[in-house]
Amino acid sequence: MEIFNPDDKVTVKKENPSGTKRTPVYVRGKTGTVLTSHGVVKDYESDHKDFRGPVYSVIFACEDLFGRLIADANAKVVVDIHEYWLEKA
């Protein structure tokens, strides 16, 4: 079962907890909100044969990721992140 639900605040771990290399560096250590809980999404064709658990679309304010000086004030980035990368914020 999934630990998080839509609207939950979550923080991305800073260190790679092992496994997927696809959590982008720019969200590590940052806090966002769960937008969608997808459950387990498995790619049967490529390497994702190992069990990586549920994945969530997490939404972040661009300002929180890149700072007010650079980022667009009314823009968000949605990133798909596996559960073991996330902690309750």
Partner: protein
């Protein structure tokens, strides 16, 4: 200059695709099949004698003064190469299975990695190197095709049939889906909640796409798609992305200041009060945008509506065609 008109970036993008498909998807797969004892180099040597007797399968001699024409010709040949590799490797996968996961293919282990062979010199020199590279890979593909025919895995006539019949997916698939969603609210609701199984009912087989999410533009939110880590895209549904989709000039700034990038590069102005949501395809989920139905199209039928949809609008970076432009072309 918008980067979409940048010749250097365009060449780089074709080069990277050529190396990806010819190097990683063709050459390294052949290497793997040999390493796993499924095929032998001797079979390739034998087959090459036969394959090279018919070198006319591709014309590598695009003659033009214009760089743009040369680039377009290369892009066309690359499309053919990709199609041939996809079909051949699908056939091989069924008969000569080898492990396909990324460690095995050398994606993560530097000692397994195939080095890229870079292009050097002036634009003309690099274009001719790129053309030679494509010829190499096309020839190798011809030989591979001959090997699997010789092995009796597929008959030559059948393979030719498959290559001729295979219509690669194109963004028009997305355009039809969008138009249907604009005119059928039940369909739209199903599409937004479970795109993959809804599209399966429309005969779009997305068996290599683990999950497809369609994101809807509203009065409050404008969606944009990117893949900052590589080039994830709903290939199986929409075909290849526009060439700039994989360029750093798109991927890096779009997540930081999307409004500015949309306005400056794509001439698409999104008012400040509309939230821009950039979806970074970081996992196995692929995205497509369901744009807003343009005003003044109430009387238009589904088929007509689908012609309003542009490739860029499915990524969230471009406008729809004007209704008047489509109406005139009927």
């Amino acid at each position: 200059m918008p980067h979409t008109e940048d010749i250097e970036a365009h060449i780089k993008s074709i080069y990277e695709d050529t190396e990806y498909w010819g190097g990683k998807r063709l050459q390294s797969r052949i290497f793997r099949l040999v390493r796993k004892g499924k095929l032998s180099f001797y079979e390739f040597i034998q087959a090459s004698n036969e394959a090279l007797q018919h070198p006319s399968v591709f014309d590598s001699s695009a003659k033009s003064e214009h760089v743009e024409d040369l680039i377009a010709a290369l892009e066309f040949r690359l499309g053919d190469l990709i199609k041939g590799i996809t079909i051949s490797t699908t056939i091989i996968r069924d008969f000569l299975p080898v492990e396909e996961y990324r460690e095995e293919s050398g994606s993560y282990d530097p000692s397994f990695k195939f080095e890229h062979r870079h292009l050097e010199g002036t634009v003309d020199e690099r274009l001719s190197q790129l053309s030679a590279r494509l010829t190499e890979y096309q020839t190798l593909l011809e030989v591979l095709k001959r090997v699997i025919i010789n092995r009796g895995i597929i008959r030559e006539a059948r393979l030719r049939e498959m290559l001729a019949a295979n219509v690669p997916p194109r963004y028009e698939n997305g355009a039809h889906i969008v138009a249907k969603a604009w005119t059928d609210s039940d369909f739209k609701a199903k599409l937004l909640s479970d795109a993959k199984s809804t599209l399966r009912e429309m005969d779009f087989a997305l068996n290599r796409t683990p999950k497809l999410v369609v994101v809807e533009d509203t009065d409050k939110v404008h969606n944009v798609i990117v893949c900052t880590l590589c080039s994830c895209y709903p290939y199986e549904l929409l075909g290849n992305p526009p060439w700039w989709y994989k360029s750093d000039e798109y991927r890096e700034p779009i997540i930081k200041n999307p409004r500015q990038v949309l306005s400056q590069t794509f001439k698409l102005d999104i008012p400040d009060n509309i939230e821009i949501r950039v979806h970074d395809s970081t996992s196995d989920i692929r995205y497509m945008v369901l744009p807003k139905r343009p005003e003044g199209t109430e009387a238009m039928k589904e088929e007509e509506l689908s012609r309003l949809v542009t490739e860029e609008s499915l990524i969230g970076v471009g406008e729809m065609k004007r209704p008047s432009a489509v109406a005139l072309s009927i």
